[in-house]
């Protein structure tokens, strides 16, 4: 039984489960490293999932669906950026409002466009890429994800942009005194998180479910944030954490045949997240000015 549980198949499944979480988590890293807390990732993922379905449905091209997802995510993130950076509204309130809005907006538009609130019509997923010379396939999005992880890690810690972004999160006043445009940097962090979060949602609807269902993110945006915290606000760390969450998710699905009521199995990801947050205390420190509006 143990052998059946721990297998390559499980790891692959875990990887697939971790994709939406990882994208959102990476988005969180960019946003929070710049100093803006982005609770709206849940809503961003949701509109991304919706956008992917809309784009694919009308053009029969999942890549357009990806673009739509990224733009929808970008738009929600833009609102969050304007409200919390320019207007300096409490970032948790702004994020929560956007989550409510995204939920309403996606159902609203779904009803309008597809004439059905609960779910959209089924769509074609992405054509899987083949490993040359083998029978193995991998989703393009997974390849994109790994690329983004590595690029993010380099950008954040080794480039000029990353240095300035991190400065805006750790001490924006110091950055400002040296001529760094803190407002613009923070905007960039939030907008990037919108694009990445949208990609995460796109994977959910495009690859995972092949359909948009109202509320389909079921808290993944928040779990992704927990992953970011657990990963100490680094891309590599966030991926590791999200992979662990993905593993929990994959295990959960395997447990469903074993006689435990499904509702308790459903609870597993959320309980795991809470435990992770407890375990992280004292060891993971957010950027010093994370969540604090910048005011001259």
């Amino acid at each position: 039984m143990i052998g059946g549980i721990l297998s390559l198949e499980l790891l692959v499944s875990a990887l697939r489960m971790s994709v939406p979480l990882t994208f959102a988590s990476l988005g969180g890293v960019f946003s929070e490293r710049g100093g803006v807390v982005n609770i709206a990732l849940e809503g961003i993922m949701l509109v991304g999932a919706f956008g992917a379905v809309v784009g694919t449905y009308f053009t029969n091209n999942p890549w357009i669906g990806l673009l739509t997802a990224m733009s929808f995510g970008f738009l929600i993130a833009l609102i969050h950026a304007v409200v919390s950076i320019t207007f300096r509204i409490n970032q948790i309130i702004s994020g929560t409002a956007l989550n409510i809005m995204s939920a309403g907006l996606t159902t609203f538009l779904s009803r309008l466009i597809f004439k059905a609130a609960g779910s959209s019509p089924h769509i074609e997923g992405m054509v899987q890429w083949r490993f040359p010379g083998t029978n193995w396939q991998i989703s393009p999005l997974i390849v994109i994800m790994f690329t983004v992880i590595i690029v993010s890690q380099i950008v954040i810690f080794r480039t000029r942009y990353g240095l300035r972004l991190r400065a805006c999160g750790e001490n924006p006043y110091a950055a400002d005194s040296l001529g760094v445009n803190v407002i613009r940097m923070r905007y960039s962090g939030v907008l990037i998180s919108g694009v990445l979060g949208g990609l995460g949602g796109a994977f959910l609807s495009l690859e995972h479910a092949r359909v948009f269902v109202e509320g389909m993110t079921t808290g993944r945006g928040f779990i992704a944030l927990a992953g970011m915290i657990f990963g100490r606000w680094t891309p590599l760390g966030s991926f590791s954490a999200c992979f662990l969450f993905g593993l929990a998710e994959a295990l959960r699905m395997r447990l469903e045949g074993f006689g435990i009521p499904t509702q308790f199995i459903q609870m597993i990801p959320y309980i795991v997240t809470m435990c992770v947050l407890i375990g992280v205390v004292g060891r993971a420190v957010a950027p010093a000015y994370d969540g604090i509006p910048f005011e001259k």
């Binding site: 309130i93 702004s94 409510i100 809005m101 509702q263 609870m267």
Partner: protein, 359 residues
């Protein structure tokens, strides 16, 4: 002083107006007439007595939810977990109601107490994690929402499912009569208010108003309210002032969760008389909008709840009589939150400037 009150009322009012304007633009783009849609949305609710009955019925859980969020907010905490606290409190109350057959004078208060205690305990989980481990209460309360929904879903599907039930959505047995809160129409009709028996408005509404007064008194006139506010504003200075912030955080989340737990009473004891899976449709989140719009103030919360009650009532009509999907209401709600928050911020800065100049 008068100026301050005026500004405090003006801001939310403008925010609502702006949000509706944005909604109107959306409706127009969709090809419908905004005035027609808004008329449908509002008219039925406010012109008939029955309409008001439904409105106040809708407002009742929002009042509790808004109080819950507001109290936590004053304590410096974000309780996004009211939805979960509603389910847990409601189920505890329902369990009592289907297990014990007692006189209403015992049944109703005990039902309330069960809802408060269990809702409060659910809130304390997040409170304890924050106090002891410094864990982020926003993520934890949201996680607890999902856990609560799954938990009650299990309970209502298995041990407590009503035997031989026909309804496709799982529910418990009906509550014993001692745990039922009666509707208001008998009394109202007797005193001349002609409200029809089909209107579900029940005495829970008045219990909600009572709790508004209780919460106000608690926060403004007691030592505990003082300490909660102190910790919410400055935990460090509170420590030096002899207050234990950890204890206060736990107390705050218990009280907030208790109020959240009460939000389900309107449905459980006053309407369906049983626990229905998924009965709360986002009341916990609407409570956030209510608290913000009402500026964390009981009177404001009541008004905000009534506004949202009107919207909820009208949403049904909107679905039926227009082509505009009712989810637009939720979008408008979210926009209200944002505009109110922005308005609050500007007001705060304006007042600061005024105060400083009068030095």
């Amino acid at each position: 002083m008068l100026r301050r009150i005026l500004i405090n009322i003006l801001a939310p009012f403008l925010a609502v107006l702006l949000a509706f304007s944005v909604g109107a633009i959306v409706i127009y783009i969709l090809g419908e007439n905004p005035f027609y849609v808004y008329k449908i949305l509002l008219v039925n609710s406010v012109t008939k007595v029955d309409g008001w009955g439904y409105v106040l019925f809708n407002a009742t859980p929002l009042i509790f939810s808004g109080l819950a969020v507001a109290l936590a907010f004053k304590g410096g905490l974000f309780n996004i977990g009211v939805e979960g606290q509603i389910y847990i409190g409601a189920f505890a109350c329902a369990w009592f109601g289907i297990t014990f057959d007692v006189h209403p004078l015992i049944g109703i208060p005990l039902g309330l107490i069960f809802a408060m205690i269990f809702g409060g305990l659910w809130g304390v989980i997040a409170g304890y994690l924050k106090a002891r481990f410094g864990a982020h209460e926003v993520i934890n309360t949201i996680m607890l929402n999902f856990i609560a929904i799954a938990l009650t879903n299990y309970l209502v599907n298995n041990p407590f499912k009503e035997p031989g039930q026909i309804n496709p959505i799982p529910q418990t047995k009906e509550l014993f009569s001692g745990s039922i809160i009666p509707r208001v129409y008998p009394l109202f009709n007797r005193i001349g208010i002609n409200i029809s028996p089909s209107v579900p408005l029940n005495y829970t509404f008045f219990i909600a108003i009572l709790f508004c007064i209780v919460v106000w008194y608690f926060m403004e006139k007691t030592r505990w309210g003082y300490e909660i506010k102190a910790v919410g504003l400055n935990p460090r200075a509170s420590r030096y002032g002899g207050i234990n912030p950890n204890h206060i955080i736990i107390l705050t989340m218990f009280l907030s969760g208790a109020l959240g737990g009460l939000a389900g009473i309107n449905d459980i004891m006053g309407y369906r008389h049983r626990f229905l899976d998924g009965f709360s449709r986002g009341t916990g989140f609407t409570g956030i909008a209510v608290a913000l719009l009402g500026k964390n103030n009981p009177i404001g919360i009541v008004f905000a709840s009534i506004l949202f009650g009107i919207l909820d009532r009208g949403a049904l009509a909107m679905d039926v009589f227009t082509n505009t999907p009712r989810e637009l209401i939720r979008v408008i709600q979210a926009i209200i939150i944002i505009f109110v928050a922005i308005g609050n911020e500007f007001i705060f800065r304006l007042l600061q400037r005024l105060e400083r100049e009068s030095e």
